[in-house]
């Protein structure tokens, strides 16, 4: 080997025992790092299944009847209204355009449950009275999860402009519901660890612990390696 070649630095062709040991250490840690971070996410992707919320199942059961028959049973419309409120309750996750459509559908559902004497109230801008009537029509209680829907109701009604459900509602609501009520889930997301969904704990906490440990291991091992190979670091 010429003197010039002896000065060649190539990570994959280390020339000294220290460099070889260092290469093995770096590759080992990098593999753990890559598999730990990206391997797990790939695993999540592989196992993920679109899993509907209970509300989506309820929606699928009532939607065909509600959309086709405005005189569908009140119970079905109540369920429909509750599902819409459940989606609107997701608040910041819901796009403004979707919110507007859902509000129209909810208002129509409430309107269609009224008799002629109360229907006119919903032809105007929502007020305390219409909210009260709507809550009673949907059958919302004042406690539990219902209380949250009750709080949501004043912000979820809109003035009725059509006798029937708006055409945009009929075409876009199934997609909207699917978007907000079907989630990627698997055993990794359903299993609970320290109270967390496992995948969340793994990503938010374990990976960070792993990073610190990898750094700690590297710093410790390299210190020992330097002593073993008589590697003097300072210039």
């Amino acid at each position: 080997m010429s003197q010039k070649d002896q000065y060649e630095v190539n990570f994959f062709k280390p020339l000294t025992p220290h460099a070889r040991a260092n290469k093995r250490l770096i590759i080992s840690l990098a593999v753990i790092w890559a598999v730990g971070v990206f391997g797990f996410q790939i695993l999540l992707m592989v196992f993920n299944q679109p899993t509907p919320e209970e509300n989506y199942t309820k929606f699928e059961a009532v939607w065909p009847t509600v959309v086709e028959d405005s005189s569908a049973a009140i119970e079905l419309k109540q369920d429909f209204a509750r599902v819409i409120l459940a989606v609107l309750g997701k608040n910041i996750a819901v796009k403004d355009g979707h919110k507007a459509t859902l509000k129209k559908a909810l208002s129509w559902a409430v309107y269609s449950m009224q008799d002629d004497s109360t229907k006119t109230i919903f032809l105007n801008e929502p007020n305390n009275e219409s909210v009260k009537i709507a809550a009673a029509s949907i059958g919302l209680a004042t406690e539990g999860i219902d209380k949250l829907m009750l709080d949501l109701l004043p912000f979820s009604l809109t003035k009725i402009e059509h006798e029937g459900m708006c055409s945009k509602c009929t075409t876009s609501i199934p997609e909207i519901m699917k978007l907000y009520l079907v989630h990627n889930q698997s055993g990794l997301t359903k299993f609970r660890f320290l109270g967390f969904p496992f995948h969340y704990w793994y990503t938010a906490q374990f990976l960070l612990i792993m990073f610190v440990l990898l750094c700690l291991v590297y710093a410790k091992v390299i210190d020992k390696m330097n002593v073993k190979h008589d590697f003097v670091e300072e210039i």
Partner: protein
């Protein structure tokens, strides 16, 4: 000596006086208790006093530790211990993006936001195992210095300096906007004035102190940042019946409760609403369709942030301030640990924030301020919320000061001294460093004042840009002596081209322009994560051009790399 002691005494007394003021403020906190229910608006006296006390303390520490020469200004005289350097790394790293932005992303996009948590911490593993010790052993002051010397090119040095300035600039804009947001919240003033005041203060103490003062400040700032960030979490956990002894674990139940829904009964928010939420699995489920984010984007952001971390000039520069290569490594270990304390905690704010802001009466909140709003809505004592906001300002300040120093160093040392005027004496270099700091701060403030709404974007752009340009040069420059000047140019051109394409498409999409394959490019070369393709391309281009070019890396550089950086013991022969 006598004069130094006297100055030290005066500074200590002043600091004691300020903390007495702070203590009295806290004792008289009931005067300001009514501020709890107003999320925005009026001048908040208590938080303002806390903020002023903190800022004056930083300036006094800066004055006391001010730089006396260029070596001190750039590299703190290399007198910082690994734990101290670790704290400085953490403080330098924990910016407004970490303190405010991370919780904001998770609040809005749930699991997708964890890509930022993982990306902004995982990059340190790469930095440590591939670069930290070697960079210290190389013994240069700045990233551009390394590039210019390793690739024996003044042109590359100038390009590297320009990149360092641009990256630091992009990064700073987001921080200034964060400072403006918090000054606006605390002082109840207009955003414009908030940015101007904040920029003036951070500029003042960076100018006075240089990096030694900044490093000392960073250690103090770390303690303030982490305490201010953690205290409200214990209170929130306790108030709403979760495991509050270790809220970083206790919030697991909050996440599960958000998925299943929380019926009212666990407490009342500051605005009088029940602590409750309807079932919201989209908050925690991976790449939920409702968030509009995909698995590819998660991986791309995570990868780009990691690569960018190992290529950011102001991060790399931190390794020059430790005495030995061994200290550089241990400073990363400590730094990452200190960083993780905040990163383990940030999702807690997003989870509580999600529940506390669920009531529609709360209205649409500015996501970037969700940390502070969460504490407010959770009825945390107003002065503690104020301390939290002051912590956010400290986080932004510590990062901005590091960035300004990195930018000014690139301007003064790499552009002015090494390229324009090599005969410049220390005094002139120092002056240029300060002029560079002023120019950069003014420029950043102007862009931040434009309130483009690009805070998180600009930070992510800086990471991708660093990943596409500086990271490949360091990686190959350290680990392969075959990488030569031509290869460096090839890699830089490839990385810069990808960056320009991504930025042009980003700007076009922001302003409603249309370009060919718009949807395809904005998805795969998005401004927040274009390093996913840009960095590998730049590395490949560097290798291919180096191999194809006939030029060989000069022997003295190979020798330096082998002997000094990698400690190969080569015996001299004829």
């Amino acid at each position: 000596m006598k004069t130094t002691n006297m100055v030290e005494n005066i500074v200590n007394r002043l600091i004691n006086f300020l903390y007495t003021c702070l203590f009295l403020t806290i004792c008289s906190g009931n005067l300001f208790a009514q501020e709890a229910t107003s999320l925005e608006g009026e001048f908040k006296t208590g938080p303002a006093i806390i903020l002023i006390c903190l800022l004056v303390t930083f300036i006094l520490v800066g004055i006391f530790n001010r730089a006396k020469d260029t070596s001190t200004y750039w590299a703190a005289g290399r007198k910082i211990s690994p734990i101290g350097a670790g704290m400085a790394i953490a403080s330098n790293w924990m910016s407004a993006a970490s303190f405010l932005g991370m919780a904001a992303i998770m609040y809005g996009a749930g699991y997708h936001g964890l890509a930022y948590v993982v990306g902004w911490t995982g990059g340190y593993v790469l930095l440590l195992i591939l670069m930290a010790g070697q960079i210290r052993r190389y013994g240069k002051y700045t990233a551009a210095d390394f590039i210019g010397d390793r690739y024996y090119s003044q042109g590359l040095r100038a390009y590297g300096a320009g990149l360092a300035i641009f990256i630091s600039f992009s990064y700073c804009v987001g921080q200034f906007a964060g400072i403006g947001l918090m000054f606006k919240w605390i002082l109840g003033i207009d955003y414009t004035w908030a940015v101007i005041i904040g920029a003036s203060v951070v500029l003042t103490y960076t100018l006075i102190s240089g990096m030694l003062g900044v490093t000392k400040n960073m250690q103090i700032q770390y303690v303030i940042i982490i305490i201010s960030f953690l205290i409200p979490l214990f209170i929130l956990g306790y108030k709403f019946g979760y495991f509050y002894m270790l809220p970083q674990i206790g919030y697991g139940k909050v996440v599960t409760d958000i998925i299943n829904g929380i019926a009212p009964g666990k407490g009342i928010t500051a605005m009088g609403h029940s602590f409750g939420i309807l079932p919201s699995p989209e908050f925690a489920m991976p790449w939920d369709p409702a968030t509009g984010q995909t698995a590819f984007q998660w991986i791309a952001i995570c990868f780009s942030l990691m690569i960018g971390t190992a290529g950011l000039p102001h991060v790399i520069q931190r390794f020059y301030v430790v005495p030995r290569a061994n200290d550089a490594r241990w400073s990363v270990v400590w730094g990452l640990f200190f960083i993780c304390i905040l990163y383990w905690s940030a999702p807690v704010y997003s989870a509580f924030g999600k529940v506390l802001s669920a009531n529609p009466e709360v209205g649409k909140l500015a996501k970037d301020a969700i940390v502070v709003y969460t504490a407010q809505l959770g009825s945390v004592y107003p002065l503690i919320v104020g301390f939290l906001a002051a912590g956010a300002v400290s986080a932004a300040f510590s990062t901005v000061s590091g960035l300004l120093v990195a930018g000014a160093s690139a301007f003064s040392h790499d552009l002015y001294y090494r390229v324009i005027n090599p005969k410049a004496d220390e005094r002139t270099q120092m002056l240029m460093a300060r002029i560079g700091t002023i120019l950069m701060a003014a420029g950043v403030a102007i862009v931040a004042l434009a309130n483009l709404g690009l805070i998180a974007q600009l930070v992510a752009v800086a990471f991708s840009l660093a990943g596409c340009t500086i990271f490949p040069l360091f990686l190959l420059g350290i680990w392969w002596s075959g990488s030569n000047r031509a290869g460096a140019w090839g890699g830089l051109i490839a990385g810069s081209t990808v960056s320009i394409i991504a930025l042009v498409y980003f700007v076009a999409s922001k302003f409603g322009g249309t370009l060919p394959a718009m949807e395809f490019v904005t998805y795969y070369l998005n401004a927040w994560y274009f390093a996913i393709f840009g960095a590998p391309l730049a590395i490949a281009a560097n290798i291919i051009v180096s191999k194809l070019s006939k030029e060989d890396t000069p022997l003295e550089i190979k020798k330096f790399l082998a002997e000094k950086v990698h400690n190969y013991k080569v015996e001299e022969t004829e």
